[in-house]
């Protein structure tokens, strides 16, 4: 794709932005131009400073050096007041955060107009707003049920509300932080179709992504951050996947490949499990995991994966059916006993279930084994042992942080995931449940996760891999089962499957459904 090129079209300029957090330079002298109608992809490793840069642009943070210039209203560039999201909105900058900022119990419509009108005039503002939105929706194709409550919407719909919210405020620059991390592949396609349409209408767009294929397919230009500095800024047409990966991590990425495994005896089984009702219920699910294999669970998210993971993790007892591990009945297990039986669980929502934000990196690394003798004696914590262990894990798993004592919430999204990975995989578990393990990870970290899952398999562990990413599933899994509306199909050898059939089954067509 080629985009507009004239110098006069510049709508946004970052000029020499530097941002430090204590000793750490999150952004170092970053300059960036954005032109009207352009789609810019911002790439970089986990912790490279992408989110920080966008937060400066939107006024959540103030840069220590440098300034943000915007074209306020076609009158040339002028400095944007630093540290003011309000000023950023006024100047036509809209931001869609990775964690949505919508009020769950208000309607989509009210969320969109909230903040643009005085609260007292909210009622009278609805009618004109509805009209303007109807127009925006037809023009952009962002289909949203305006009167539905946010809590009833899917992730993709919530994101569309966020985008509409920005457009409603007449945004001319739209920033999206990892918009596709939580979307299904279909939703991602729709999103990019919309973004292309909007950019053709003149909207300038910056999006952050770790998925290089979508960057190649949908951006005009790519900027790459490494260690807080901009190391590349070039038209997408001059890139390919390999080059992008190299630019990001500074060296070539070796694709992980699965050798022919040698699966052993059944390790973990689910028999006829039913639980819950509604969207996330499970119906008569059967599953057999053997040692030394990776069992992939494919499916569009929201088809019962969350409940499946909760049952396996010991967080939700099944209403009927049996769970067993190495022949022992584990149906009544809880999280503690599941962990103690040698089970590693990588949760899908790492911010909610994975870490305790205000606690330190070392405490988060020890939390699952806090009662083990290595972490306590007579009920007293062994801090030096915990911290030494943490230092080793930080090194081994390449967790980018300012040391084992910094609060986990200050880490970038990808590095938070690495805490969870280090904590769960380091004790060499017998079974691994990995739910969306590479979501939000950069290419290097993703290939690292893949290596570690394969290493667990080679050790004889069984791995259950829940993912939406068909490439990941086909590359790693020995067998793949498909989950759809709470029904799990029987697993089939990966070699006998192709993307087409899997895609159809994920959509609920073709292939038998387990009764």
């Amino acid at each position: 794709m080629t985009g507009p090129t004239q110098e006069a079209d510049i709508v946004l300029r970052l000029d020499g932005i530097t941002k430090r957090f204590g000793m750490l330079t999150a952004n170092g002298d970053v300059s960036l131009d954005l032109r009207q109608g352009e789609i810019l992809a911002l790439l970089g490793e986990n912790g490279a400073g992408k989110t920080t840069l966008m937060n400066i642009l939107f006024g959540h943070y103030v840069a220590d050096e440098g300034q943000v210039l915007v074209d306020q209203s076609g009158t040339g560039l002028s400095e944007l007041e630093p540290g003011s999201p309000h000023a950023a909105l006024e100047s036509g900058i809209g931001m869609v955060h990775q964690h949505f900022t919508l009020a769950e119990n208000l309607s989509a419509l009210d969320n969109i107009i909230l903040g643009t009108e005085k609260l007292v005039s909210l009622t009278s503002a609805r009618a004109p707003a509805r009209k303007k939105l109807a127009e925006l929706i037809t023009r952009s194709g962002l289909d949203v049920p305006l009167d539905a409550r946010i809590s009833q919407l899917s992730v993709g719909e919530k994101q569309r509300v966020e985008i509409l919210k920005a457009l409603y405020r007449d945004a001319r620059v739209l920033v999206l932080d990892e918009p596709t991390a939580v979307l299904t592949p279909q939703e991602s396609d729709t999103l990019f179709a919309t973004l292309k349409k909007l950019s053709a209408d003149g909207l300038a767009i910056i999006f952050i992504s770790h998925k290089l294929a979508e960057v190649m397919a949908s951006s005009h230009r790519v900027a790459v951050l490494r260690g807080g500095r901009k190391v590349a800024d070039l038209p997408t047409a001059e890139c390919d996947l390999r080059k992008l990966a190299e630019l990001m991590v500074g060296h070539e990425i070796v694709e992980t490949v699965r050798d022919a495994g040698s699966p052993g005896a059944p390790l973990f089984t689910l028999q006829n499990i039913s639980v819950g009702h509604g969207r996330d219920a499970l119906h008569q699910v059967d599953l057999v995991l053997r040692s030394g294999e990776i069992l992939g669970i494919a499916g569009v998210s929201g088809n019962g994966q969350t409940t499946l993971a909760r049952v396996i993790s010991g967080l939700e007892p099944p209403a009927s059916g049996t769970v067993s591990m190495e022949g022992d009945d584990r149906t009544d297990a809880n999280a503690r006993t599941v962990i103690d039986s040698g089970f590693a669980r990588i949760p899908e929502d790492r911010h909610r279930d994975g870490i305790v934000g205000p606690m330190s990196v070392s405490e988060n690394l020890a939390i699952e084994s806090i009662r083990k003798p290595e972490n306590q004696r007579f009920g007293l914590l062994r801090f030096s042992a915990m911290r030494e262990k943490a230092r080793n894990l930080i090194k081994a798993y390449d967790i980018r942080c300012q040391g084992e004592d910094s609060p986990a919430r200050l880490l970038s999204g990808g590095n938070i995931q690495k805490i969870v990975l280090a904590r769960t995989l380091d004790p060499e578990p017998k079974v691994v449940l990995a739910a969306q393990p590479s979501r939000g990870l950069d290419v290097g970290a993703t290939s690292d996760v893949h290596k570690r899952l394969l290493a667990a398999r080679a050790r004889g562990a069984g791995v259950i891999l829940i993912s939406e990413d068909l490439d990941e599933l086909m590359r790693l899994s020995d067998r793949i089962a498909v989950i759809h509306r709470g029904h799990l199909s029987s697993a089939e050898e990966t070699e006998t499957l192709d993307r087409g059939t899997l895609g159809l089954r994920m959509a609920g067509q073709g292939g038998e459904q387990a009764a």
Partner: protein, 360 residues
């Protein structure tokens, strides 16, 4: 133009500085209504300082007042750390006092070194058991503990009144609703001759150190912090969330119960229904002022006690109502809550671009 920007971890020294600044700001703000009452702030505050620190007697009175506040402050702090909202320290205090009186007025006869611990234990146990109910209702049925603990305060106070006018009334009390006096062997010894200050203060200080140690260095404390900061992640990581709540509830109630023990067995000698002028509720303020830190609780309790004792003495000298104390305490709480903003956010003054470089 003032802008707020989120801040990273907060150092202890900054926390201390902000707390002191908040206390100072409260005193300044309270001077305004004083001026309307025709009182010079300097005068009033020096009278108050004299009332709280001016003599050995004043100082020990202040410490005596701080003793129950430290314990109820700890009760609130430890519970709030786990996000268990125990608003019922007042009731737990009375339950503790009632149990102390039940054991200490002759039901059991034993030498002091046995009887005093038994009285204390009974009070702590009673307070803890009172808090156990709301805790179990929360963990089992999801009943809001704010409501249950708050309402229990009134139930317990009424129960105490019933006991004091019925079975536990002092037959020698000429019909007053008060209990029999605590036996001499069961009373907490005084710390100083002819002063009211008693061993309860030592118990309170030890409790503060104990809670600090518990939260900081033990597995249980780790679990309390984890549950309080993110219960979902704690549960996922295999931490026994329900058991942790129960532990916290028992501990919190026991600390409040001990405050009641100190008041009857250390200070008053017998139980009346006006034993506590709201120590349980003030404990919440103490805990908030302290930022839920157990060591901070000691200082916050001393601050509040000196305001109350000082204001009493000032009002005796000037005739200005000692409600002023409530005013200052309320101001202090507001100031500390506002100062929380300064702890979580960096304040930047943004005007000309030049100021940006300097305002780091």
């Amino acid at each position: 133009m003032i802008r707020f920007e989120p801040r990273g971890p907060v150092s202890v020294s900054r926390m201390l500085a902000v707390s002191l600044a908040a206390a100072f700001a409260a005193l300044v703000l309270a001077a305004i209504p004083m001026a309307f009452a025709g009182l010079s702030a300097f005068n009033a505050y020096s009278l108050m300082a004299k009332g709280a620190f001016g003599s050995l007697f004043a100082f020990t009175e202040m410490l005596t007042r701080a003793t129950p506040l430290i314990l109820t402050g700890l009760a609130a702090a430890v519970a709030f750390r786990a996000k268990l909202w125990n608003i019922g320290a007042e009731g737990q205090l009375y339950a503790g006092a009632l149990a102390a009186v039940a054991v200490g007025t002759g039901a059991i006869s034993a030498p002091g070194y046995l009887l005093i611990p038994m009285v204390a234990l009974a009070g702590a146990l009673a307070g803890g058991l009172v808090m156990l109910g709301p805790t179990l209702l929360k963990t089992r049925l999801g009943v809001d503990e704010v409501v249950t603990t708050l309402l229990l305060n009134f139930i317990i106070l009424l129960f105490v009144q019933m006991m004091l006018e019925g079975p536990m009334q002092d037959p020698m009390g000429m019909g007053w609703p008060q209990s029999e006096p605590i036996l001499d062997e069961a009373a907490l010894p005084k710390l100083l001759e002819r002063m009211r200050i008693h061993w309860g203060l030592v118990v309170a200080l030890a409790a503060a150190l104990g809670v600090y140690f518990l939260l900081k260095r033990t597995v249980w404390g780790f679990e309390i912090r984890a549950v309080g900061e993110n219960a979902a992640a704690a549960r996922h990581a295999g931490i026994p969330v329900t058991a942790t709540f129960v532990r916290v509830g028992l501990l919190s109630g026991a600390l409040a119960g001990l405050a009641g023990v100190g008041e009857v067995a250390g200070l008053k000698g017998y139980l009346t229904a006006d034993l506590s002028p709201g120590f349980g509720y003030s404990g919440i303020v103490v805990a908030m002022l302290a930022g839920l830190s157990p060591i901070g609780v000691v200082f916050a309790a001393l601050f509040i006690a000196s305001i109350f004792v000082g204001a009493d003495s000032m009002s005796r000298a000037t005739g200005v109502s000692n409600y002023l104390a409530d005013l200052i305490v309320a101001m202090a709480l507001l100031c500390v809550l506002v100062s929380g903003l300064f702890l979580r956010f960096k304040v930047r003054f943004i005007g000309a671009p030049a100021t940006r470089e300097t305002a780091k």
